[in-house]
Symmetry: C2
């Protein structure tokens, strides 16, 4: 089969690409060709088993999406996007990439006419508070950020285009992916990863919010697992509601720090410095806490069940050999 | 103040225009200038009290929205749109008018920079079934039509742009406006009006769905009332959730027919012929039934309280002289 990945140079995109190359197949079918797209120039590993092509460009630019899907891929992973902090800071960029880029891709797929499976990374940012203790799947979606708005609009389009049979779309409302490897990005959620990743390698980290903030996380490994699982789902089983809230580990920042202590000791914890930041707090206090994620469970999506597991996944995937 | 109305040649637009001219003021302020826009050529009454300008063109066309709001209106009523049946039959037209037209207008207002009140006609089509008996304000929005999807995307944009202070938006989720005067349009909901309007003037009408179908209605007079009321609302009182589900009369088709009998007699009722139509039924059975509309009530929105009142409003407004 032919597979497309947009946002392939991103954190999740790179890990997904690696997994697809290692597995050599997805959704039970051998991958013959892999088309990787991103606006950031990047290099992909080559593979003896499949034909890998790197495409660099702006997905929202005239003709870019059409060229990408002209060979009529069987499966499209749409990960390209601008993160929350950037979408809030730069209104036009956020709408251009997160909404227009998505729409350009969806319309290009519609015109290609072969109705592939499309897996789209949405976000729990489609929700807005006030929240109940545990957020049910059918909680109303009134986002409080431009990023969440753009994801919601994209979800709506995915649902409508799937209903009309232009493709077979699955939108995945990712929880915050933690521990995010590498350097901090512009996501306001960065500190959730920083306070784990930095101390694990002996570096200091800043905690800008109170310890009782509760939030839901899944590892990058789980993120890739979600995408691969979605690729193989039976569309009929998913039904008309194509956007699915995923599971994760709902913990307070205090519990994250306790997990760090158990896994890496007090020395690591001592590297975290509390430095309240009103701007971060203003955003974070509107963020969702815990999810029921019942449909995702029924459909077989799996995440970690403790934050200790999330830290260990990071150590295995990023800090070994 | 300067007021803009888009969709001014439409059913609601014409009635709103008439009311604005008669009142001479809105939201407590005198109307000095009224800019009326539609893609369908139309003529407006002239008014000695205000400067009325007719603009004809496609709101989604490059530059059209910018030209319309260049004089920085204080109040914008955005009614232009393609109805449900047409948006379903013509995908590109629906997205172009209902989404791109709305976005062009909202962006033009953002660029004009004077942050006016914007009143947008959304629809209960943003909801999708299955439904509870009475649909609460915070019921999740998973539309089952392209029209509903376009309205939902527009609502999301309105909410985000209001949050960011580009304008002070109010989205109104209109129930079905009944009795719709004039000729049937392409809305799949046409029969709700046909079975009343036609018999009242001695003409036959077809009922394509079972009599136990329940749906919520408000008169065109109430529709205008909603718009005028929204124009004068205190934005602070509305809060961060800018899209409001409006009240109406939730009745079965059987109850509509009973009301017709009470108001116009058995002869009128005898003109209704039941002729089940699978295509109409397939759409209608996914439509919402009754709404709680609690927030709208708290904010002072008012509709009829019985279907008899709705029929009498039609007779007074359309059949008297
Ligand atoms: N990481 C998280 O916690 C998280 C949570 C919820 C949702 N998501 C979503 O998952 C997806 C992947 O997340 P990530 O953490 O890998 O993000 P990332 O920022 O690491 O990767 C996104 C990629 O998209 C690319 N991109 C940006 N604009 C583009 C354009 N115009 N054309 C083509 N490519 C463009 C970027 O260059 C980047 O490589 C994103 O859509 C993100 O919104 C992530
Ligand atoms: N009537 C109802 O039952 C109902 C219910 C819910 C929501 N609404 C919404 O209320 C609004 C008014 O409804 P209505 O019943 O008066 O509809 P209508 O169809 O009578 O009027 C809509 C007007 O928009 C104009 N229009 C279409 N495309 C345009 C474009 N590209 N540029 C500029 N103008 C354009 C049409 O020419 C028409 O005059 C619409 O947005 C509709 O979706 C109506």
């Amino acid at each position: 089969m032919r597979v497309v990945v947009t946002g392939a140079a991103g954190m999740v995109g790179r890990k997904l690409t690696k997994r697809l190359m290692e597995d050599g197949s997805v959704a039970g079918r051998t991958i013959a060709a892999l088309d990787l797209h991103d606006v950031t120039p990047f290099e992909a590993m080559s593979s003896p088993a499949m034909h890998v092509t790197v495409h660099v460009g702006d997905l929202a630019a005239e003709g870019a999406a059409a060229a990408l899907v002209a060979p009529r891929p069987d499966l499209v992973f749409h990960l390209a996007g601008v993160v929350s902090g950037e979408a809030e800071a730069n209104l036009e960029l956020g709408y251009r990439v997160n909404l227009d880029g998505t729409r350009a891709l969806f319309d290009a797929i519609r015109h290609a006419g072969n109705a592939p499976r499309v897996v789209f990374t949405s976000s729990i940012a489609v929700y807005g508070g006030p929240y109940p203790d545990v957020i049910p799947d059918d909680f109303h979606t009134v986002p409080l950020t431009s990023y969440g708005t753009q994801k919601l609009m994209s979800e709506a389009l995915l649902n409508d285009y799937s209903r009309r049979g232009f493709f077979d779309g699955i939108g995945l409302r990712f929880p915050t992916i933690c521990v995010r490897p590498g350097k901090p990005n512009k996501a306001a959620s960065g500190f959730f990863s920083n306070i784990i990743r930095e101390p694990l390698v002996g570096l200091p980290a800043v905690l800008p919010v109170p310890r009782d903030v509760v939030h839901t996380h899944a590892s990058p490994r789980s993120a890739v697992g979600f995408l691969i699982h979605a690729a193989g789902l039976d569309g009929g089983q998913v039904g008309p509601r194509r956007n699915i809230t995923l599971p994760g580990v709902g913990v307070s920042v205090g519990e994250q720090i306790e997990a760090l202590r158990r896994v890496a000791g007090q020395d690591a914890v001592d590297l975290i410095r509390e430095e309240p930041d009103e701007a971060v707090w203003a955003l974070v206090k509107n963020w969702p806490t815990r999810f029921e994620a019942r449909r995702a469970g029924e459909l077989g999506f799996k995440a970690e069940t403790s934050f200790d597991e999330i830290i260990r996944a990071h150590i295995e995937d990023e800090l070994s050999d």
